[in-house]
Symmetry: D3
Subunit: 337 residues, 6 copies
């Protein structure tokens, strides 16, 4: 059944989300601080049985310079070729859905098999529910970033934007783009960000924080119009917020304020890259009004920004599955040049 | 929790399955009839965005010559190279789990990215639950092959071995090997069969029916020691058999007889290729005594046959996931030469 | 809780269903082809322990002349009496709900115990979920009628109206009326069609395709306003359609077109017999807007057609249960004369 | 899956149940008191649309003379015929499963359609879950018979045998036989007791308390070897006992003592009529060791007593369904003469 | 997710409940009859390990004079002190949620630890689901008060207001206030009624039937706007009513009439004491429109009556939990003087 | 149903747990390091509406000196009285079950109302699932203590004993005893440790690490014989370990080694205080073989140690509920002197 408004209403729906005061400064200073923290991008060849794809184990500095892991997959020999030619490849920086990590080296071969460099970014503190990750979430110096949380990371440090888990994760996302651009195999002018669900939220955030990325694809993106989503679905991970507030009844205002700082609708207004969204009308995990709201706001007042939204009428959170992945490849080819 | 015996008991467990009279003849004549029916292997290039892998849409003659679809994925340019050199590639013929089909052209790039030719075989009449398929299940001339079935294909034609759905599907599996061997890009001496769950059952059957295949890998194989499985799990698809017999109470003996003809334990005794199995101790869909029973019988009385079983102590039906896939690549490299 | 609109809105609700072009021809030619295929109605006495009811095992030609089974139950001695007198009995042709078959000979004694001849029609390819059936679904010559289906028959051959399972089943329903009328024990002028859920959909279809039936009773009829139902319930079997389209994303338009050919709302417009419907306000399997829509359309523009709808405010899909069955007997007495 | 021991173990299993001291006296005095309370059997014709079966609304004195309702169904005209001839019919007294009542007048026509008189007995205080009943459970003068109960009647008055709900219900069952025998249409020498689940438990109890009944058929009988059942299933209604004792932790011994007074194993030892039981190996509501235990004890030390047990290997609590009903008719024909 | 209207709509929502004719007389005569039946309030010291709180086991006359149990908890020595001083304590009479009883003597120490006398009233016939009770529900002389019920007490005697379970329970609630006022340790002028869920419904009823109580606190009160609740939730215990009517289809009007006699909205119009309500926007057991409706009606036309409602936006039926309990203490301190 | 062995087998069951090498040193050095880290015990009066109990907000140094919160509840005026008299009270240090925190100040009044000082210790990083907590889990300097975790804290830092969450939590438990003993209101010689489920595991650990505590009560203690529990239950939180290892397949040995360091069976061997355990035979969260194993090992070779185990035959994880709490009070009175 439909989990949200019918399609015709979704097409004209606008979110009630309002950017909190200081939102832009909050993110700009966070990202500036991360960049200031420095740190090296370390790239180590990773043995695999693959012959047409080379894999590297990458460590790059994320939030506050903390080390974040990723897999870099490229067509076989591409690194040496780029170093020799000085010409990098069009590149996809991919973020992962809730609970997952970067997975195994030989997973997810699509982008490299299509000629892209593919930086598959680990998810701090997650990576133990469905795909393996190894990046710790070191938190901040503020003990509140380690405060009691409902199981899952949604509510880690949720009492303030500064200590919120997603401040760290979204900064990792932006810094992943920075890291990619340091690599010879990457053509800095042709870097796209990509992901589904939480990975879609990260793609939106990275697209807003690094507005000169070449393209953004966000499949059924999570964390858009969060306050509305909390009232219309009982599915995790949105519901983790509800469960937390059911115990921490005195923190409703504080949590609302934090959520308003990490909402994809707010990020979308800052995005300028060509962007593709998907939404699924029977998605109970990410009700489609969230992706539609992000799509509606993308580009803010700039009507020249290219954006599109694909609608899956009979799908749940899987959306278009690998059909969407191939469509993303084609979108990247079209928009990265 | 454990879904079956503890590991130490599994290691010495032997199935109570007894081969029904005429089992070998039943399968030999079925396969002979399919081969006699003839039919062409049609290979059509399939457009994809891939650059390092070429994909072809294959139609080959399966049971009774009926057309079965598959994707052929090979390293880019491999077909022309093989035609030029006369030397084919080591090849993996892959079968799919219950409810799935061959999926999308650009899915499952591992084997081709490791230098194999990869024939990914569709599943007749399935392919509508989790991955897309397009091959019809035309049945036999006997109307009983179209008789009332509990939802799912487990009980289609179940009243006799001749009309049973799995007679057709396992014949398709054997004929897929035949079809692969007709292709220039395939090195006939180095063809392996591979699959998980129902795909594992098909790999076992193909390995028994085409005993000169080069290697067999069956992950958490379904349909081994079926009668036992029916009494120890309520999970589909084994439970479809129970639900059918709960309505067709007068067909218990007939259904038992059919099941005895399609049981992987019976096939395993005929296998001679090097074989690798996996089992998961918390697998409720395929309780591990089935895979262990198939492993125990593999090779029959021939002690020289190489066989091994990987055990996942804390996994369910996902078993080793993509870790197992990479291990399969390595097993094929080791045993296909 | 209510599963659909409140009662006052249901009373004025009209379906958005639009008949596809050629709908009438599609069904007329299908039925004409079935009638042209011919085939005998075979009636064999069935031993039972009953003393006041005689049971016969009937085989009649359905879709394309394919054999369909049924039980014929009549008051003891009625067949001989009718043959002697030349006067048949008022007759109820009953169709069965999803997953069920004609059941056991001595089941469902109500109609015969009330003096009716009772033809209890089997359901091709079903009859393995809750009541036993034995009629195969032979499909058509077109392989698409055997294409991959989501478990259950809803999506069998769903890619075109011609290959759709329900084309065959609804034709069986109309042909069951034809078959009944060939029997001496049946008064051809007093044949009613009857069923609940899928059986109700079949009664509506038969009532439309054989418009001179004497009466129609459809309890909580399935398959009315299908497209709406798919968006407001997650219960099977409507949900089987959703699950199929979640995998076969490219077939949405084709499936919509097929559904528009089998929708009970379209059939209802052709009905002219006195008709009784029921609907249950807490029915999640058949949300009540479907039955109400069929009721609203019944008789088309002909205001003289008698129609009524019984509403069960606190029931689910069981509706009025055996209370409704007795009400059906009384409706038939009133309207069959 | 199997819900209890494998079949070979069930065949030799004996219950650990021990009859509590005074068990025979407890039931004999209870029944004597009920008989002493007297009360009339009132028989009122019930209008229905049936033509081959006549239905009467019966009220008879049950426990302590309290009024209990039943439907009497007989072949049309049988009452007048019996009154004229002085010869009654073989008779089936049927009891109903947990939560149900006698249902509607025109339900359950099998026995009357086979030439039996059929007394379908209501269930005091139940009849609101799946089939309608109207008999109140007036309890006893002891307030403990109205004490707090877990939802459902299992624990009503459970703190002592005297106040237990099942003391009253089983007495109703025995008194139903007495009532039937007062009717002209009933042949007192040919009265059988019959039921499934709770109805099977009542049939066993009535067969023990009125040992000269002509036959007993108990399908998947509930309440046999209760203490064992409580430890091997979480399904209601056995689980109601567990839930009650989880709150009334201080009443374990008292409840055990009550259960020992109502256990079907204790009753079975007193039975002498030919008896037929069924058990289903996948029955989670009534695990099969209970029915097997009752079967093993039936007839006590008297080896001449005929008894049999039908086993359904792949069924749950539905057991043989209407196949069992027809088998019961045949058993009654064989054993009532 | 929200289980009912959004908050802004709840704030202006008014129930469609209409008081049935004779409602006031019905309750006045019921209460008068209970008071006329007389009966003693018996107070027995209860041994516990507590040192700062004394507990007494109280039996008082409830509906029709039937004995009802309660715990009386007071600050240590308070009874002797009150007897010596002639000055009683402010007092909280507490009622319990569905399925529970008065629990254990040393449970629920808050009120006595805050200096109140605390009469914790048992729930007739319940007390076996989550907290222990011992009070029988003796019913009335009318057998209909013992008629078949759906499991749980919601539908006990539901066919008429006179025989309804809640007539008895609400009378117990009012008589508990009467009983408290007979005790020296209680200051009759400062007695409050208090409870959550069903206990909240009882507090509302007692506050209406004994309008000179000093204060009323009803947390997420059950049984307000019952007819609406039945259509918007499937959660028990409201759903017990639906399940009963699904079987007793002929009693819909009678049950509606009974429900109209026990609806908290009707009671609320008679309340005059200062009242505090809570509602939880994600409460599926008691959708918030019920508590809001009761709050809206409280005090009837008397605008001087103090009333307030606390809203928990992210809680389910637990509402504010112990935070609400402390708020109740503060409300009582403020309003009892 | 039983979730583990029958009672007679439990009584003689011994765990297969073997203490890992260096276990005693591991814990001794961890505790020594925490004590060496120092830190103040800060006690701040907490306003509540209570009159017979005073509550204080306590912060004490736990693992590595990190601040841990607790509530201190004492009889009103007890602190001043103790300071005046120099005589402290017998004291209960209570730990909390999984997901919970110290809750609200006025919760859990039993111990203080019985004359004990009651230190109710918060749970680092939890306190967001069912009762509120505020203590952060700061982890260690090793980033692995912040590594990816399955939702919940079970697997936080699980790859080594040093980084494991439970190393920190159990150290907090021991340090809570140290902290209590610094308070004037506490009689250092009469301090007991107490808790249920995870709180029971903490009580066992504290009783082992601070072996001169006066008494230990562990209700249905969690984390005893962990490796066995993982194979016999699918209930969280044991199942969190399984889910983690299903993704981190390469960490099985490391996780086993960590679990062996935190298993309650290992701690139990070091306990010397009088100890009381409970176990529930239908407990799926903590199958009873764990509590029985801890009981069996308690006191190690010292047969003079008093120990007892209470068994609840029909309860789940709630065990004896508040009945057990009162029994704990009595046990403390008996053994603390």
């Amino acid at each position: 059944m439909l989990t949200d408004m019918p399609l015709d209403q979704l097409r004209t729906h606008r979110s009630a989300h309002r950017d909190p005061e200081g939102l832009v400064d909050f993110w700009d200073s966070t990202l500036a601080q991360a960049r200031a923290a420095g740190g090296d991008v370390v790239v180590v060849p990773q043995p695999t049985p693959l012959t047409s794809v080379d894999v590297y184990d990458v460590t790059f500095p994320g939030f506050d310079g903390q080390p974040v892991r990723a897999w870099l997959r490229v067509p076989a020999g591409a690194v040496a070729a780029a170093e020799a030619s000085g010409r990098g490849l069009p590149t996809v920086v991919q973020f992962v859905g809730y609970g997952g990590g970067r997975g195994e080296p030989a997973d997810d071969l699509l982008f490299a098999s299509c000629g892209f460099a593919h930086l598959h970014v680990d998810t701090r503190g997650q990576g133990s529910t469905w795909s393996r990750g190894t990046t710790p979430d070191l938190g901040t110096a503020d003990p509140l970033s380690h405060s009691p949380q409902f199981p899952g990371v949604m509510t880690r440090g949720i009492t303030s934007p500064e200590t919120s888990y997603y401040r760290r994760l979204f900064t990792d996302a932006a810094r992943a783009v920075d890291a990619a651009r340091t690599l010879a195999v990457v053509d800095s002018a042709r870097v796209a960000v990509y992901g589904g669900s939480q990975g879609g939220a990260m793609a939106i955030a990275a697209g807003a924080l690094v507005p000169d990325v070449g393209a953004v694809v966000a499949h059924v993106p999570f964390l858009c119009d969060i306050r509305r989503a909390m009232t219309i679905t009982d599915a995790d991970p949105f519901h983790e917020l509800v469960r937390y507030l059911a115990v921490h009844r005195d923190e409703v205002d504080a949590v609302h304020r934090t959520l308003d700082h990490i909402d994809g609708v707010g990020f979308a207004r800052r995005g300028r890259a060509p962007a593709r969204f998907t939404a699924a009308l029977m998605d109970a995990v990410v009700p489609p009004s969230g992706p539609f709201a992000a799509h509606a706001e993308w580009g803010g007042a700039d009507a020249s920004v290219h954006k599109e939204i694909e609608v899956w009428p009979y799908n749940g959170h899987e959306g278009g599955g690998s059909v969407d992945e191939v469509a993303a490849v084609e979108f990247f080819r079209r928009h990265l040049g």
